[in-house]
Symmetry: C2
Subunit: 437 residues, 2 copies
């Protein structure tokens, strides 16, 4: 076939649309050097799939391209029954490192770190350090940007960047050049907290230390960028009312995709059934004044929309660390004011709409002013309530230990739909008693 | 006051809750070295605010802590009338660089790049390169991880990492050590495409080149992590039906916050008014069979919820480059199947609910089976339609050059609400003709 002159860029382009077999075929058509680079750039998920599609004899060469932290990610993406076989393909040193890393949770600092890093002693001279690192770099797996200065017990004493080494005169001792106030992470630090640490200190690399300040490994910024993307993706999917997908959209098997969506959708549907119950309560009112029914969707959806706005803003602000639990009063104060103004705007527009339509089409009966005021007052109440519920729900979820992002737009909308109906018909009962009702 | 022993960490903790004046006060209480680090870690937005709060005489020392690319960000965050004054505070070299960068759009590669980078000549030896970089590093502003090899016209020929230099023997010529296939970005590359380039190639630094491959500057991964966070935040805010905020939640002035939300909320409200018109069309049917009105919220919200799921999944997949325009058929096929199954599940639950409630409370009249079937068929139709509309809308928006994230959960819900009413009453007209209607 003329297809043989296949480039990595072309394969990357076509990737999402290819079946697993086509991917393996395409991969085998690449030139060796290109294939190596292509493989190292795949996600851990795709790497695992690819390795398992290859004949067992070929797997070793690909696995050995990976530094220990990426090897761990690949192993964790493989089915349980394949993991031990894959582990056997690494050399002894890497296998020991990978096993050491496998005990950490995938989304902790321990699960993200690379156990290989450059280390120096405080009493070396800068020249000694540079020539030591030059020798050491030939054997080390990953490129390093910092060297960590440790004492005889491997306890962290300081850090020097390669740039520090470059700018210092050669005879200076490392301990006079190093920075002592190193930003560190603990092994069980959550990846979201870790990414905030990177962002806050503008770092490229953070060492992971145990309770006695012994270095266990280093986390680099390029691992964190994946974490940041992943966390945002999870939050967005939850905000949309889906369980997090765990694989690219087009690659999730159809049944699994349906499963991820059916759960929440069913829960929301069952919750939303309360609207039928609530409406049923007011069946007599609707029979007497059918005009009331016409505005139900308008009123409850306005509550849902303003609630979605408030909850997504607060969820994102919490994920970025801009809003914390103790800021709840600041949030409530702001959202009360915002909800009041937004509700008044919609109430105004709603009232005008009814008055204009009435003068044009005479469809709302003789008590149209009362109907208009009922709709306007309900809109104000529903929007105010939607804004308040949407903004406080993420805080409440965090307080009881759940993920704030579960306060999805559909969840808030459903919650507000039911209460919106109650608000609307209660207002109607007060406003229209003796006239329409 | 005993408050004088104030640490940077404490100030950082309290930051979001402080007024501008309190921030400036707290900042001035920090020790000089801590204050410098604290300042460089602030966002460009906060840096600009802080500098403008300080007396003009003090501004210079803080501005000069920043490398040119960060100085540009600060200038762009300052009010227009202050920019020229701030520019005058830089030294001549930096001012020229900053002016050069200000011509680029903030979210292009040109607007993110640092014009200072390490450069080498291809005919240097490795030892010459190392000692050249050692001298050069003393004057350069930012730490570098790669040195770019350029010819006499400053055209990019290759790249060497510091690690490459460390592992190569000293007498080798740079052109034999360098990698020639450098990943580059053009000056006008959009920041989202740039972040995908970083993610795809696992890079720490990418050079920005003009059409003749002359290097204009370099973009580093730590700038990109901010971009990734920012893009995700914008998408989440849009998905929630708000205009992007541009500042942390608690810092957006209340009026501006209301403005960002009122726009979409009003548009959605006006769109949602069509539900009242649609309901008005079926007023006679509702008057004859009030029971129909009870299920309106349940049916339309199910369409909205399934639409929100589909649109957020597709929006995120497009932002990550997992789904592209040409994949539209893959998306439609998947969502048709998913929508059909999800719709069937909800239809089943809805039918059972009506049958069970009827046998318990006898509230749905003699034709309850027909009512149940009407609701079930409508649910299937509405969920199928919601899923299809939600998943294709982001693709359509991208096709006509708009941001897919504008297919917000509330927008999709509103769209589906109106059509949901039409579907429901059309089904009812067919199913119940001659009995209830």
């Amino acid at each position: 076939m003329a297809d043989r002159s296949f480039t990595a860029a072309e394969l990357h382009e076509a990737w999402p649309a290819l079946s697993m077999e086509e991917r393996a075929e395409g991969f085998e058509l690449l030139q060796r050097e290109e294939a190596e680079r292509f493989f190292t750039q795949l996600s851990a998920h795709d790497q695992a799939q690819m390795v398992l599609l290859l004949p067992p004899g070929e797997r070793r060469i690909w696995l050995r391209l990976l530094p220990p932290d990426e090897a761990v990610d690949l192993i964790q993406e493989a089915p349980l029954e394949e993991r031990e076989n894959l582990l056997q393909l690494f050399d002894d040193t890497t296998r020991a490192e990978v096993r050491g890393l496998l005990v950490y949770a995938e989304d902790d600092a321990g699960g993200l770190m690379n156990p290989r890093y450059a280390r120096l002693r405080p009493d070396m001279s800068v020249d000694e350090a540079i020539s030591y690192l030059r020798r050491d770099a030939r054997t080390r797996g990953e490129s390093a940007y910092y060297a960590y200065v440790v004492d005889a017990e491997n306890r962290l004493r300081g850090v020097v960047s390669f740039r520090d080494l470059f700018v210092s005169s050669g005879e200076k001792r490392i301990e006079t050049v190093m920075r002592k106030d190193v930003v560190t992470a603990s092994e069980d630090m959550d990846q979201e907290a870790l990414s905030q640490l990177f962002a806050r200190h503008n770092l490229i690399m953070i060492p992971v230390v145990d309770s006695e300040r012994r270095i266990k490994g280093v986390v680099t910024l390029d691992d964190i960028i994946d974490v940041v993307q992943e966390e945002a993706t999870e939050d967005i999917q939850k905000i949309g009312g889906t369980a997090a997908l765990e694989a690219p959209y087009l690659e999730v098997p159809l049944l699994q995709m349906i499963g991820k969506r059916a759960g929440w959708l069913t829960v929301l549907f069952i919750g939303e059934m309360l609207t039928a119950t609530a409406m049923g309560h007011f069946e007599a009112e609707i029979a007497r004044a059918v005009v009331l029914a016409l505005f139900v969707p308008l009123i409850i959806s306005s509550g849902g929309n303003s609630g979605s706005q408030a909850s997504t803003l607060v969820i994102r602000a919490m994920a970025l660390g801009e809003v914390r639990l103790r800021d709840w009063w600041l949030v409530v104060r702001r959202e009360l004011a915002t909800g009041f103004v937004l509700g008044s705007i919609l109430a105004g527009i709603g009232l005008i709409r009814i008055l204009v339509w009435q003068s044009a089409f005479q469809i709302y009966g003789e008590h149209y002013v009362l109907v208009g005021v009922t709709v306007a007052v309900s809109l104000l109440g529903v929007v105010l309530w939607g804004t308040l519920a949407g903004s406080t729900l993420p805080l409440v979820l965090r307080m009881i230990g759940l993920d704030p992002a579960s306060a999805s737009a559909p969840f808030v909308a459903t919650l507000v739909d039911v209460t919106g109906i109650l608000i609307y018909f209660s207002v109607a009962n007060v406003m229209l008693r003796g006239t329409l009702l």
